[in-house]
């Protein structure tokens, strides 16, 4: 589509691909995910993890915490990943641990995106003093190194329950997304339909919430996925270094205990490798899904789908 230039008529609708077109945002998202192979893989993986988290009892028959079994058993049909040093079934632990990880991922993703949207978009739209003061807050948080800050907060809270982890990660992550969303909102701010809303007498809060934010859905979903991804990594890292609650059943804590018992050296490698692998896989699932949203946001990235029809030769 040609850039709208004064005096130049623009394309009729049939020739345009609906960019932010359909109100059916979910439908559009669904289509994008289906068509992009990377995103489909990501969606499938994430779907599997969600199922595991929702129905852990169906998949793993043992309790994750019960140390009923002989220690250090190898892989077998009874214990798919063997047992750990304490006689706990590793497979069950990891299956039940999925809940904690996904909970953190989704809650942090949601909370971070929400805060970032409210602050970033409001700053962009309202401009002036509001923008400047919100920017100061955002920038201060941006400058502070994220991970050390997390460690300090978690340590200060005397070892985090899941809630503390969620709060700490959210608090330290929202500023990045806020910056991003503010930039996006700045480019959208001058669009005529926002001006039109203002001219017809809408209040600023209404314009931001109802007119502006819905046009940013693909960016918001992408932000959610990115923050969820980082939440998984950060939470697991904190748990791994012992700042999580060691009694929580989670992949990070499993890693912690594995590390404590020098699992790799004492012939229980799966104890360390399996949770690491799962963390990486879930992270990859979020990252792969994100590819679909890059494409929605920037049509230039869409791969050209070649016609399978045989081409006609020159006349």
């Amino acid at each position: 589509m040609a850039m709208p230039v004064s005096g130049v008529p623009t394309e009729t609708p049939a020739a345009q691909a609906p960019e932010l077109g359909s109100g059916r945002a979910l439908g559009r998202i669904g289509r994008a995910v289906r068509l992009n192979r990377k995103a489909t893989i990501g969606a499938v993986l994430l779907g599997i993890f969600i199922l595991i988290a929702l129905f852990p009892g169906v998949i793993a028959h043992d309790s994750p915490t019960q140390d009923a079994y002989p220690a250090q058993l190898g892989v077998s049909t009874a214990h798919l990943l063997g047992t750990n040093h304490y006689g706990q079934d590793l497979f069950a632990q990891l299956v039940y641990g999925t809940r904690n990880v996904l909970l953190i991922a989704f809650v942090v993703g949601l909370a971070t995106t929400t805060i970032a949207v409210l602050i970033g978009v409001a700053a962009a739209y309202l401009g002036g003093l509001t923008d400047s003061s919100l920017n100061v807050v955002t920038d201060v948080l941006l400058v502070i190194p994220l991970f050390p800050l997390l460690i300090v907060i978690a340590a200060y809270a005397h070892g985090g329950t899941t809630l503390v982890l969620i709060a700490a990660i959210t608090l330290t992550s929202w500023s990045y997304t806020a910056r991003q969303l503010r930039s996006q909102a700045l480019t959208l701010r001058r669009r005529d339909f926002l001006e039109a809303a203002r001219v017809r007498g809408e209040r600023p809060a209404y314009i931001i919430l109802v007119e502006l934010i819905p046009t940013m859905t693909s960016l918001l979903v992408a932000s959610f996925l990115t923050n969820a991804l980082y939440a998984v990594l950060f939470a697991s890292s904190l748990q791994f270094i012992g700042l999580g609650d060691p009694n929580t059943v989670s992949w990070g804590t499993t890693l912690y205990w594995a590390q404590n018992n020098a699992a790799l050296q004492t012939g229980e490698p799966l104890w360390a490798i399996a949770p690491g692998f799962l963390i990486a896989t879930l992270g990859a699932a979020f990252a792969l899904l994100n590819y679909a949203f890059d494409e929605i946001g920037n049509p230039a990235l869409r791969p050209v789908r070649r016609s399978k029809r045989a081409r006609r030769t020159d006349a």
Partner: protein, 320 residues
Amino acid sequence: MLEVSGLSVDYLLDRGNVRAVDDVSFTVGRGEFLGIVGESGCGKSTLLFAVAQLLAPPAEVAAGTVTFDGVNLVGLTDKQLSVMRWRDMSVVMQSAMNALNPVKTIGAQFKDAMRAHGKFTAEEIAVRSADVLKMVGIDPVHLGSYPHQLSGGMRQRSMIAMAMLFTPDLVIMDEPTSALDVVAQRSLMVQIKELQLAFGFAVIFVTHDMSLISHFSDRLMVMYAGQVDELGATKTVFDRPLHPYTQGLLEAFPSIRGPRVPLKGIPGNPPDLSRVPSGCRFRPRCPYAIDKCAEVAPDLYPLDGTLVRCLRREDGSLAS
């Protein structure tokens, strides 16, 4: 010099192929000024890109040839094309702000263009750059200016100057005046015509503004829904438009002289190219359509030196 024969361009989209240019044929002789007129969605810009071999996926040439100086350009590689690009054929794009690099001076961009198409010394480049700027009426001191420092009209002139670097045989222009105000538009058109008469190159000029081109083009080609609907000498087409669409277009221009009369315009909208109407594509909007127009898709028919795509002109049932 340029012969386009049976050219068709398809856009390969998810939902199927859309034919944006359908079986278009025309010629351009040396020093001739051909105007291509049509509204949005008619395919004129796509046609231009196809002729200049600048199509990018998902668009591709589906059929036809573009013969320039005896060589068919369709299917040539970039390397083969670069011999002829800019030296024999150059392109002026629609909006200079989009086509000019905002972080390079005009002079630097001229240098890039010259270096890309030949070996020249710095001296030669400087002299030539100053020359082309003078040709379009810009003080050569602006070689050191950035695009944003120039006015809209001056930017467009620089684009034209850049196209003139090698005095090509053919200059293709895609709506170069649309972003300009009416006075600047007029003076740019006059400038283009002067250059054309002085250097003898041919021009293909694409625009949606028929009245603008009326005084400058030798022949006029009217496009609608991807097809050529009328092609003939400019004066003839204006004085005696044959195709109902051309008639409708001409009547849609309010005049500043003469009596104030209510005008009708053309009701309806151009068709969705993925679902063209059966028979004649203009039929749903045509005041003279008959039943046969929905069944038979007309071909171009020569009538007194003008080509027209209309059944009722062919069989003579539509009186002038």
